[in-house]
Each structure stands twice: as C-alpha cells, then as structure tokens.
Subunit: 379 residues, 4 copies
C-alpha cells in the first residue's frame, strides 16, 4: 500500500527510506553479522581538571555519582539502571576515550570482534572491562577513526526514577544520543547502516551534498548523528529531561551561578528531531546537549525526513541563529593507546559557509528572499 | 557481574526477571516462532452512537481524523505516520473488535498464522485487511479470548509532529498501550511471554497472588497490561501527551464543557510505570487513559518492579483513592464473528476487595497502621 | 455603560458587586477609617513538635529559613523580601496565634487601633513587635474571634527570585492567602468589607444561604476567605508556585518520602478562583494549600462570581470529590493571651451535608440528574 | 528597622527607593492631584493592512475578538473582563494612537484634565469615548510627547478565564505592560513618578547614566517602562501567558506557519523583571512581547533593583545576544490630530553602543574579561 505521503506544510521532504546516495568510496560491508546494538550507553570523557568537571556535572547539572575515585567519576541519569552514562577521567588532553554502546547479549561481543576484524580495524577486548561497573568489553578504532566500545555485562544500580526527593528542577533522566563530526557524511552513514543503524533524518542541499544525518538503534530519532566537518571529533553528548521547563531551569541556574557564558546555543526547538534543546560547554569545552521530546521511530518503514540546508528552520525551528562555534568546535577523540586521532578536513561544502555570512543564504519560506530581524544583522 | 541491586526507598521489590510464578494450567508454548511484534498500533472499538463518539474523540480529545464514512471514523495521534490508532465503528453493542499490533515484516503474518494455529485458536487472514488503510492482516481469537490483529502493510499519512498550527492544549501524540482484563494473570503473562512480550512491572501480594502485570514490546513500560478481573474484557486504551500540563488541559476543557463527569480517576502519578495519568470514559463507557512520561525498558535485563498490592502508592503515587468503577467496569470484546465473548469470573483474590473497604487494608509506610485523610473516610 | 454580561458557559452567575445579603445581625461599621491593608503577610502558627514541623516546612516544602532559635523558626517564600511569611512557634496546643497583614504606612497602625477600639475589641500594640523581624505591631481579637495583626515596619531580606541555584522542583514563591472558618459568612463578609476587603467570588444556594466568600486587598482572588463552619478556626494558609508542574513535584516528592498520606485533597483545578491547587496537612494537622494561577481582580468593578453550592465543579472544576475532613477539620485560633478561642457552631446549612451523601446532591450540568463515576460510589 | 539587605549573588544592586538622579531639566510637578491609575488597559494601534494584522493577532496569536467593523478590530485576552486590550485601526501610517490607562473612578478623569492642563499639555475629553466599548475618556499629549488616554467607564464582557474549551496552546491571558522609547530616561521617570508610578528596576552605568527604567501602578514589575532612545516612540506592548510552555507554543506555531522570521528576540529569561519572554513583530513591525512570571511589587518599600548596563545577564539572564533591531526599531506615536510626532534623538550614551560591538563590552562575571561563545563571534 504505502501511498504517497501528503506533503507537509513543514516543507522537509519525507521519503520511505534513506535518501543519502551511497558513496563510491564506501567502506566495504563485512560479511560478518554486526553486533545487535541496543542503545548508546555511555561516553568516556577525558577532562583536564577533574575537580572542575565534577563541579560542572554534579553540582551544576545534578548528574548522579554512582562511584568515584581520585582519577575518575562515574555518573548516571535519574532513570538509568546501569552503572553509568558518563565517565569523567582525569587526563592530559581533553578528548573522548570511548563512545560506548550496549549490545543485546554477551555473544554480540564476539560478533563485534569479527565485524571489525574483517574491516581491518584495531580491535581489543578486556574480560574485566575498561572502566568500573562494566564487564567484558570490546573496544575498536572504527573505520571512521572513532573509539567505539561494545559491552553487555554491567552492574545494575538503583533506578532513581521514583526518587522525587532527589530530583532537581533540571533533572537529567536519560542519556539520549551521541553526535560525531566526520568529513564525509555519506561514507559514515553507509558504514553505520552496515552496523545496523537506520537513518531517521538528514540535511542535504539541492546538489545532493549531505551535511548531517541522524541514525538510531533504539526507537528515538538517534543514538548517534554524523555531522559533516573536520573529524573524527565528538560534537556533543546529549541527556534528556522530562519536560521543557527542566531545560529552562538549567539555563536559569546557570544564570544564577553567573555561568551563563557556558550556554553556547539555545534553548530552542530543533527542526530536525522536533526536540527542545540546549547546548552548553563543560570546563574543557566538551559540548553537552540537553534534549527533550523527539518522536517514536521504531517501525522499519519509519519515514525519513530530509531538510534543505538552506531552510532556516532546520536546526532551529524558530529561525534563531546557530553560532559559528557550534559548527567549528568539537572534541578530539583518542585512539586505543590514548593518543589523539589526527583530524582530517572536510572537503564537501561546509554548512556554516553555505548558510551564514557573505557566501551563504537561508530562507524562512522557500522562494521568499525576505530576511528577518535575526538574519544578517546580529552582532 | 549484575550485582545485587541497592534497595530502593520506594519499596517495591526489584528483580532481574519476571517474578510471576508459572501457573500449572499454563497455555502450552507453541513450537512455532511467534511474530515479531513492533508495537501496539490501533484498537477497533464498536460504539453505539457514532456521532456522539466522534464528538468525544474529535471535538473533545482532538484526535486527528484520517478518514471517515457513514459507519466508521479513523483517528490518529499527532506523531503517528500510519493510517490510524483508533477505529470507531458503529455497531449494536459497545465492545472491542480488535487489539491490533504492527509486526516487523510481511512474513510475520505467516508466523502469526502458524503460532495461533498450533495453539488451536480460530485464525483468519484477509489480504485486503479488515479496515481502511491496513493491508494484509491476520485476526485471531487468542487463547485468553481476546480478538487480536497483526499487520505490517499500512498506508502512510502525514506525521503531524511539526504541525504546531494544529496542536491543541491537550494534544495526544502517540498511542501508548492497551490494558486487558483477564481472570488469571499468571496464565495470561506466560502466554504473552510466549508471544515475545516481557514483563516490566507487576502487583503481587505476600501469598504470591498476582493482581496485574505490565508487558512491553517497544521499550516503554508496556504495549499491553493484564489486569486481574472478570474477562476477557478491555480495561483501557492509552494515548500519550508530551507533558503533564497537556493532561491537565484535557481536564480543564472537560470542566469548561460541563463534561467533568467523564473523568473517572485522576489526574495523578502512577506508582507502577511512574507515568502521569488520567482516566476518562467515552459515551459508551469505554475507558481511555491519557498518559505521559514512563521510562526506557529496552534492555533485556531491564529490572522488573514488583509492587505490594497493599502498598497504597502502587496505583497512585500520591495515595489518592482508586474508585471502585475503575476495578469493576470494562468493555466487552468480540469474537471474530462480532459476537460478545462470554465473561469468565476471576477466582483469585480481587484487588478491590483486598485494598478497599471493610475487608481490605492498604499502607503508606510498610508496618505503619496510620490511616490518612483519604483512606476509609471518603464519601 | 456596563452592559449586561454575556452568560458564561461556566454557569456561575456574574454580578457587578457583592451579591451577599447584608445580615440583620451585622457588626456595626465603625466611624473610624480602617487601616489601609496591602496584603496578607504572614501567619504565626503554634506547633507541638518544632523539630517535626521544621522538617515538614523546610526539608519537605523547601521554605527558606530566614532566622531560627530554639523555640521559633521564621520562614519565607522565594520571592519575598520581608523577613518572613510563616512563623512556627513551639507551644502546648496546635493553634494559630496571628493572621498578620501588612499595611501601607506606619500611620495605619493608629487607624487599626481606633477602628477596633471603636468596635469594642481587645487591642494591643507593641512598638518592638511580637516576633523577630517585625517592628511596631497591633494585635486585636477581631469581632469574629480571630487574632489579627497589622504592621508596617519590617526587616528586608534578600528576595531570592533570581536565585535559581537554590530553587527546588516545588519551590514556593509567594504567600498567597489565608482561609478562615466562621459560622456566619454574611456577617463575616460585612465586617471584612468594613475593613476594606472586596468580595471576588462566593458560594450560595438557591435559598440565599452563603457557604463561603473570597475577599481581596491585593489584586488576586483573595487575601483571605470566609468558609462557613464551626469557628473561629483557621482553614488553611496558601503558598503560590510559578507553575502547575511545581505542585505536581511536591506530590511526587511526598510519595518518594512515603508521606503521601499528608495529601488531603488534590491536586486539582478550583472552580472558584480558577487556580490549580493542592491541600496537605502538617504534623499538627494545620492545613496548607499550594496554589497557582488565579486572575487579576484589581479593578473596583471586578465582576463577582457566585457559584451554586450544588454545582459539582465549584470546588473542583473536574468534579473530583471533596473529602469530608476538608470540610470538618480546621485549626484552633488563640486569643491575645494565647488561650484557644471557644468554637461556635454553624447554624446555617452545612456545605458538606447539602452536597455529599444521603441528604445532598450535586450536579455536573444543571438540570441533569446523571451521576458520574465519582459521585456516590467512592469508598 | 529596614536593615541593610543581604547582597544578592545575582549582583544587581538593591536599594530602598528609586536611585535615579532627578534631572535638572525635570518637568515641573503639578500642584494638581494626579488621576489614580489602576493599570495599563489597552493600546490603540494604527495598522496599514487590517486584514493582515487581524490574521496575525487573531489567527496566529489567538487574541479574542470582542467586536469588529470594516476599519477596526477590538481584541482582548482570555482573563480580561473589559471590552478590549488592543484596538487595531486601519490607517495610512503604522503608529500608536493611544496608550490607555484605566483609572479608579469617573472623578479621576477630572483630575487627569487638571493635571495635564497645569502642565500645559494638549488635553481632549470625549464623553462618548474615542473607541467602542469605552465611555467618557480623556486623551492628552503628555510632556514626553506620548498620546495617553484615561478612562473609567467601560463595557464589561465575558471573562473567558474558565473557557478552557477555547484556550489554545499559547493563550494570552492578560495585557501586562507598555514600553516607551524616550531620549531622556531620568526626565521621563520624574514625570511618571509625578503621575503616581513607582520605579521597580532600572539599568544604569557607573557614571550614573540611566538606560531604562521600569515603573508600575498595579503590583507587577511594570505597567510601562521607559527605554532610552530616539523618541517618543512605542517600543512594545506585552501580553502575559500562564506558563512558560505557552510562550514556547507560540514559537512552535510560528515555525509551523513558516513565520519564524517574525520572532525578533527570545524566548529567554529576563534579568530585569525575572520574567520569561519573547519578542515578535507584527505585519507593520509593531513589537509585541509575550511575558510570564514576574513578581509582586505592591509594597511601598518594594526594593528597587538596579542593573549594571555592562552586566550581560541584565536583559537576558542566560546571556543570549540582544539583536540590534531590538534597540533601534520602534513605532511612531501620533498626536491628537493623528499626525506622527517628530522623533528627538537621544544624546545620552546608547545601550547598544556601550554593550555591543567594537566600542562596547559586557561581562558575565564582574571583573572577568572572559568572553563566551555568544559574545563577539555571532554572525
């Protein structure tokens, strides 16, 4: 059946499946079955001043400390039952040590080893895990240059969902997604699809250049997104709140603490994902998104939404400006030896350049050249 | 690893897996592979006055009409992309014609046929579907007596998630779950587990009697629940809102329309599921829940939460009374010929009787006999 | 001009001025000019276990401690700039020591003395005040038997409105109103009008019996209300939150603390006042309302809204039951010697009796006898 | 008593009374008693395309039409009981015809005539009113050049507060305040204080230049504000919502209508007033603020809050940029003949210039030169 979809007034194009062209330089699809990934589970972040970072994530953002020692803090969100969603580790260079996914079964670790070994990637496995609370784990340097972890075995801790005596106005309740910067988005997407991810939304231009793509395992808009830019780098890690006022409460608290300058962008409503959002930067500049209310995407034929890069509502539904730092800044990622991965430049068009400033343009209504108060005249 | 879980101050017992005893009279587990169910997708409801029901669901609850004719109205929620989440069909007896689940692929319909045929159930299949917008469908009378449908093929329609020009204060954004009344909960749970469902929460007493169980396919607290009582009957169908104020807005609107007497219970916070809720009754007495903000349950080892039937916060976290009608009233279900199924009485203890009135008791704090303002003295 | 008002679908009758009949037994209007009252400012409450009460108001309700000593705790709300809105004082009998109003100028204290002296009331004045933080004060036993205080001079403290680092999910931001129980409502209203109050809403029956009246100085629905019943007693004192979710957060926290039995009624939407509300009881049974979002009433011709006592939406817009304790329980008040005032019985009809149970009836729609799920069958 | 106030971490200076220096060129204080103003009541706006403006205010912003004809639309907010809060009148030049205040009694019109006559202003009075729904009215060209109206007699209409069947997600419930642009703020403040207004907050620099001041009659942060700039012009008129999510809903709807370019600034949290805000521009460029949750200011010694013009959180508590148009654009005002008033340039320092761009600087923390992501590098 699957009749043509009624055109939406919201103008992005809706298609039945991933509209991103398969690149000629695609990473080969392994014959091995990929591991069955449940969800993004935690990120391991290297911070240069653990006390400052602990203050930011615990005293300001109110994440819950599961466990900590002199060098490391293990944090989780209020509705989490696994040991942690974020590991802060003291180190010499601010960077990302692991994007970690939980898989469906212990056997999926074997699958991960076979999958990445076939791809010629560096693969390590530690039965005792790399961090506290996690058992048998596989870490790889994936074909895109990112340090990716897979695990099943994990310590269960109290799910604090009902502990309203502990909630704060801006309580973070779930890890929602990662966001990665990579030079060639179609190449990255093709690989992630091999790994079992599905595209839910993307940004393209009329020439077919893809600027970003959102991909999911759990049935939300994403477990990770690929953002076009110099990479491999980590763009942000996102936590969810229950409601929009929780995100506003975080902004209000940052103002009261005279820390409003850590707010980089937002709060606002995304076009892509339809979620309400805020971007802040931690003491090392690592970017954190606070995010709420995207939509269910779990059906295999979930419609894919493609946004025009010139649509001024694609990244902020209200047309508010994206600050340049949001496009240019990102965190280094580490290889399995803990050394920063070299960054490769994007050669495709830059979203910043095609949409902001002298060379770029954006529209609120397709075909309407009118520029609003917020375009071109903000200092 | 999976260490013992820290006891929660919220007192329900958390276990690693379904703590419901397997009954001796269990329905045999078929050798056939069950269909891979994605999610509860829609309910077909027979109403005795279509105009009155249309007014209730469309003018009051603001569900979106996808399509309608003289005898039938097809309704969906704002974030839905399939043809409908609710079918209202004019008929002689108010009852439920189908609990319909979407499956992962067309092949899952073959699996459904084999699964239920092996169980000796009545099974029908229609390539053109039973209702508009849905293609090839299987309908069965399941071993518990419920009319259950499976389908994959469906017409796509506009997902109105971004259509804030159409939103109303109480906008319903997703179908969340069904709730079924059945005499023997452990027997029903064992069957639903055979069908691939997983228990997330349940209510038991110290003697091991199970009063209700919540089960999911999609990673929320449930796609359906089994509530102990005279059955097979339909207890309620639930739609989700984005935030709690949306549910309050529905109550406020019902007051403004002088329809507050359709509010049966709530709004309140559930203990089970941790969601914010409201129960209302449609013109035929079919019960609708409005629901928001439960939690992610998608990991295979998601902790199962067992509540004590005497815990006064299990069904309302604030200890507000459950009205007797909520326990006693439910909708008839139809067999595949459209005849009401006979109702079988529950023989296990009744939750109403063990918790309310002269024979029952409930506690706010275990071991504390104090009765609050709301217990025992409400007229 | 003042044309006839369009009848509201909400059915209460709207009139241009106070429709409450002046009683034959009215308290004489003094020739003296009454003090110019700004607003209800604080209540002094005697509690029998100061530690328990401190825990309730500070640790559970998150009121701010301005100052405290062994016998007394001074509390304020987040947006307050005067020393306190609530004084908890340890004493032998749970009761109310003062309903305290702030007046516009020091000279208004002289007016208060003259006004109540003319009425033959007991009047005291203390230049140093009765409690910390307050200077020159007048206390009277008013003609209705209540201990009432007037003051202008007060210590200013930090208004914590911007201190979002201190806010909790259920932050109380303002003292909103008092509510007093008195046997003869029209007599009380006539006196309060002499004191400068204006009626905003009231509840009457078809025979002209007045069951309750709301009266204001500041332009909200009330600074105090008179509730018909055995009195003089204190029905409740109310604090405001910013939004509805803040009130829900208080309920959720009470659940998490296994204190849900302190919730007496609500949360809900009032008919009268249109505010969102919750009633809880402190360790001595003193009743606290949490309240948000009534409307501006500051114009001298603000329409007065009269509700039918049989209108089931008058006290809860959603028609949810009022528990009997809410009608029958109230706190004793003290005379100026600190002795409990004798309670005089109401002789007019009782709202509880005319609306609940065998002798009473209520309607959702005038002229419609249909009883909903919530009427008559709640245990 | 009135002890020194504890310094707030929020850093603005709190003083017991208006800290704005009285200017040497002040407008003389009349000997006549000023009219007793209740509140800002409505604004009369001249629009150049009535159909376009009606669409904006009625179809997009959901204001309620009380009455309309070919040339004029009378609009009110949901909780209003007087005939209108906004008059849209078709005319040749987009401009403001009246800032209208309601006074306490008919006699206050005589006082208004005497007050402005003594000041040498042009004064007119029409017993039948200038617009529908309003009776006896006085209009003046005030000493600052603004067209100001005073009235008491007004037609009452249904207060729609309880009409939740009519509410939309972004329902505007009250007219909150005006905001006027004038070259010399201290001179304007001195005059408005003569008229009975009180300052609640202001923005100054270390040299004593005053950039803006907020003044109230009703006990909110303001009925009008004086913003330093070329004037007399109208900066904005503000309507209140109940909660923050209502303002977000307006933004979301504007996005859905592809009208996001009418969003000029926000949403955000103000430093001044502590309210949550949004600024939009109507089809003629008239600026509308949507506003919620400032604080009670009704006590005569309400603390005055003075913000440093260099404090980057003064106008947006989150430090988000103020767009230049917000400083530079404003609406013309009309004299009593309907002719636009000439605009006089501000000679004091400009807030835009001292805070934005090459010549300006702002701080998040006093004494901290660090520039955040949002300062200086937004394109």
């Amino acid at each position: 059946m699957s009749n043509p979809i009624t055109p939406s007034s919201a103008e992005p194009v809706v298609t039945a499946s991933d509209p991103i062209p398969v690149p000629v330089n695609r990473i080969p699809t392994p014959a091995a079955t990929p591991p069955d990934i449940l969800r993004c589970a935690y990120m391991e972040i290297v911070v240069t001043d653990l006390a400052a970072s602990r203050k930011f994530y615990v005293d300001v953002l109110d994440l819950v400390v599961t466990e900590e020692d002199e060098h490391t803090v293990y944090l989780r969100s209020f509705e989490e039952f696994i040991h942690h969603n974020l590991v802060l580790r003291q180190g010499p260079v601010a960077a990302i040590a692991a994007f970690s996914y939980r898989v469906r079964s212990p056997e999926d670790l074997d699958r991960a080893v076979a999958f990445y070994t076939e791809l010629g990637c560096r693969v390590e496995r530690r039965a005792e895990g790399y961090v506290k609370g996690i058992g048998d784990s596989v870490r790889v340097e994936d074909p895109l240059g990112f340090p990716v972890e897979f695990f099943y075995d994990v310590e269960h801790v109290e799910r604090l969902a009902w502990r309203y005596d502990l909630y704060t106005p801006g309580a973070l309740v779930r890890l929602d997604h990662f966001n990665q910067v990579t030079p060639d988005v179609p190449r990255a997407v093709a690989h992630m699809e091999d790994l079992g991810f599905r595209v839910t939304e993307d940004i393209q231009d009329e020439a077919g250049t893809t600027y970003a793509a959102w991909m999911r395992r759990k049935p939300t808009v994403h477990d990770t997104a690929m953002t076009g830019g110099d990479g491999p780098r980590m763009h942000h890690v996102a936590f969810a709140t229950h409601e929009k006022h929780n995100i506003i409460a975080i902004c209000d608290k940052l103002g009261a603490l005279r820390m409003s300058d850590v707010i980089e962008r937002g709060p606002g409503r995304h076009g892509v994902s339809n979620a309400f959002y805020l971007y802040i930067r931690d003491p090392d500049g690592h970017r954190i998104e606070i995010y709420t209310q995207d939509y269910y995407t779990g059906d295999p034929d979930n419609p894919v939404v493609t946004w025009d890069v010139h649509d001024n509502q694609r990244r902020d539904w209200w047309g508010n400006a994206v600050v340049p730092s949001w496009y240019t800044d990102a965190s280094l990622v580490l290889d399995l030896d803990g050394e920063p991965k070299p960054v490769v430049s994007r050669t495709d068009d830059s979203e910043l350049e095609v949409t902001i400033g002298a060379d770029g343009f954006s529209y609120t209504r397709k075909g309407d050249d009118a520029q609003g108060f917020k375009l071109g005249n903000t200092l």
